[in-house]
């Protein structure tokens, strides 16, 4: 298993648990289709053991908001 890149410019990626996932979808009243996507092969999520349909939470530093949280759903390259 490859390790995610350790670099200051790579924001923290975290896999959501099923419970968190459900809460997120409910919060925004959406299905997985409405979420932004991330490739399963993306170097940043190697080592998270993410499957298709998992949601990745990304914590970024933002020039306007200090810290911002973004969500992406894992998709395969097909």
């Amino acid at each position: 298993m490859k390790k995610p890149i350790k670099h200051v410019l790579v924001p923290e990626h975290k896999k959501l648990s099923e419970k968190e996932k459900k809460a997120l979808l409910e919060k925004f009243n959406i299905t997985i289709k409405e979420l932004p996507q991330i490739l399963k092969t993306d170097p940043a999520i190697q080592g998270l053991n993410a499957k298709e349909g998992d949601i990745i939470m990304i914590k970024r530093n933002s020039p306007t908001a200090g810290e911002s949280i973004y969500y992406r759903v894992v998709v395969s390259s097909e």
Binding site: F28, N29, E34, L35, P36, S62, A65, S68
Partner: protein, 861 residues
Amino acid sequence: MNAQKHEVYKKIDAIQFGLLSPKMIEKMAAVRVITPELYDEEGYPVDGGLMDTRMGVIDPGLKCKTCGGSLKECPGHFGYITLAKPVIHIKFVTVIYDLLKCTCRECGRPLVDDRKIKMYIKQIEHVQKEKGIEAAKVKIKEIISKIKDTKVCPHCGAKQEKIILEKPTTFIEGDRKLSPIEVRARLEKIRDEDLPLFGINPETARPEWMVLTLLPIPPVTMRPSITLESGERSEDDLTHKLGDIVRINQRLQENIIAGAPELIIEDLWELLQYHVTTLIDNNVAQLPPARHRSGQPLKTLTERIKSKHGRIRHNLAGKRTNFSARSVISPDPTIELNEVGVPFVMATKLTVPERVTEENIEYLKQYIKNGPKKYPGANYVIRPDGKKRRITDELKEEIIEEIEPGYIVERHLLDGDIVLFNRQPSLHRMSMMAHYAKILPYKTLRLNPAVCHPYNADFDGDEMNLHVPQTEEARAEAEILMNVNTQIISPRYGLSVMGCIQDSISGNYLLTKYLKLPRKEAVQILYEAGVEDMSKLPHKKEVSGKEVFSVILPNDFTYIGTSKSGEKVIIENGKLKEGVIDKSSIGVESGLMLRSLHKKYGKERTFKIIGQISKLGIVVLLHYGMTNLISDSDLSEEAKKEIQEILSKAEQKVDELIKEYKDGKLKPLPGRTIEDTLESYIMEALNKARNEAGEVIERNTKEETSTLLMIKSGARAKILNLVQMSAVVGQQALRGKRINYGYFGRTLSHFKKNDLSPESHGFIKSSFKQGLKPTEFFFAAITGRDSLMDTALRTPKSGYLYRRLANALQDVKVEYDNTVRDSNNRIIQFQYGEDGIDVSKSEGGILNVKRIIEEHLAKSK
């Protein structure tokens, strides 16, 4: 208006595209065209000809034989001709080619086994559902390329031969030509259930319909003939082309019946194919376009629809509008910000429909009496039954007698009418705003210079458009949503887009920094600036400029900010206590005082204040004058000396650097060569020298000259411009580097080879006032020309880039839960701008929390 008269009795629920089947062509046709003749001896359309009146009429006198309608009522009806031999439809050649390649020549099944057919069809359906039609098309292409080269049919075992497309419309299998009849026979063999594999819906488009056996003839109404002055008739391009087809078709038919040799029939068939192809598209790459006798190419079906002058871009997307005007713009600071000066000549052509009532009948009668020529008049009267009558000298009296409540008079544009004012490119919503018309003499449209910025307008020949809304609803909407005062704060950066520019700024700066004036004169100036209430002006013999400025401010206004030079600006209870008013208080895109006013007093009040402040600045300058003098760029002896010293020091530094470089002692910067390092050190040294010169000039001026006043107030120019005029023009940079082009090893023949000195690489030691040396002038010309080219090339490029961006983002919006989503409801941002701030309610994108708390505390006290 028509919507009120007609009930909606049919509503479009869905649109289905498909191919016309021969049956359908026959069914929708009113005529079978059999003869190429158009008219008989009397000039009447021949029955069964191309101008048959059953296909609609274009003469005002005639009636359509199909529907009985006259010219205006009959929409036209299709006809058809039976082609003696089928021909291929040019627009479907690629589809036919794909089908031929992928299906068996014997049994017509796709060249893969049943299991795979099913799998592929399922895949296509899936992709279409998940990713849309474009992705499905890509998938189909992929599948086609996978199966097209199969050698043996998996269904019947027939051996397949290679099919080549000889453009434009000939198919060759092996070394034999496939006639359209054969092609059609093969397409017929393909089963309905296999068609989804190629993205074809067999219910609406059987593949054999792509080979034409019947040709629909478009209605006469879409190809009207024109009667020339000489009484001769000139037919439409389409009629010409159709005539050719009918003629060749007839000849081919005759030859077939007569049993002519194969060769002749082949030739005629080919010719028929050519004519049908050019009827559909006259710009096929491999075919010579069909031409008029004069040699100009015919405009056939595709050309009618396609490109800039086609139906879509020219007629549908490019609608023209009545009640609009366009002219050169010029400034007029005496009109309000939300007014627009409209020339008399325009006002007599642009009209507003006004419904006659008991209240307005008297003055509307007066307008009618004035007629279309005398302002203010009226051009048309619309009777309650919808009949429109032009007001002429003869009809005037009659119309005045006739009109009563319920009539509509189209009267001339008057002062105070709402109009929309626009300048292209309309990049943001402030590019089109509602103004109140003000009718003025001369022929240009006039606008207040304070609204130049939202339109991005200047007066070097810019033209702008004006539209007059014609209904009460439109006027109300324009006034409420588009009025200039609703647009003061930009939604992009949360500061005012309207404010003082140029002399309005320098005028206010002069007033608030230096002036002391007799009260009488202050009253005069304020009155000219549009202030009527002088009670705030102190009753002293002499008042200060700050006191004059304060008159405009609201009595309870408190503001603390900084001026451009960093000093504090303090306004307490509507009085300017300290500091000067400059660009950072009242300028566009930076006027924080304006932002603060808007927040506290709302748009109407702020709007009025902006108008008054900008006018005040101009009036002050009118009274006190401001001139740029040549002597503004004079330097004192000490300053001259100091600058000379700075320059020679810089040159010394450069010489040292060059020496270091030549001795190999210079250390390269990370990621650069030694040469680059030297260059950047030299640039740095020279630029530093110029900046220091600027500081010297600023320090050495005892009194503020007009030029310096402009610079300090932020009205126009930077200190750099003054340095260039009075001290040194400086290094000329080409693409971020010193000038390095020209001869081998040197820039000009005036220098020695490999000379690295500043003067040989575009450093201009002279000032503009001194005048430039020939070599210096040449270097200035190089960079001047380069920057001219650069702007000329960059503007359209960046404009197109912005257009694409704007189109891509046009339906992205912030939803009620603060997420940013596109039209498919897909999330783009989870919180607008990552911080959820509404920029138009912030100050330059920032929420000043400290101030909000302070204000809140002050309120609760």
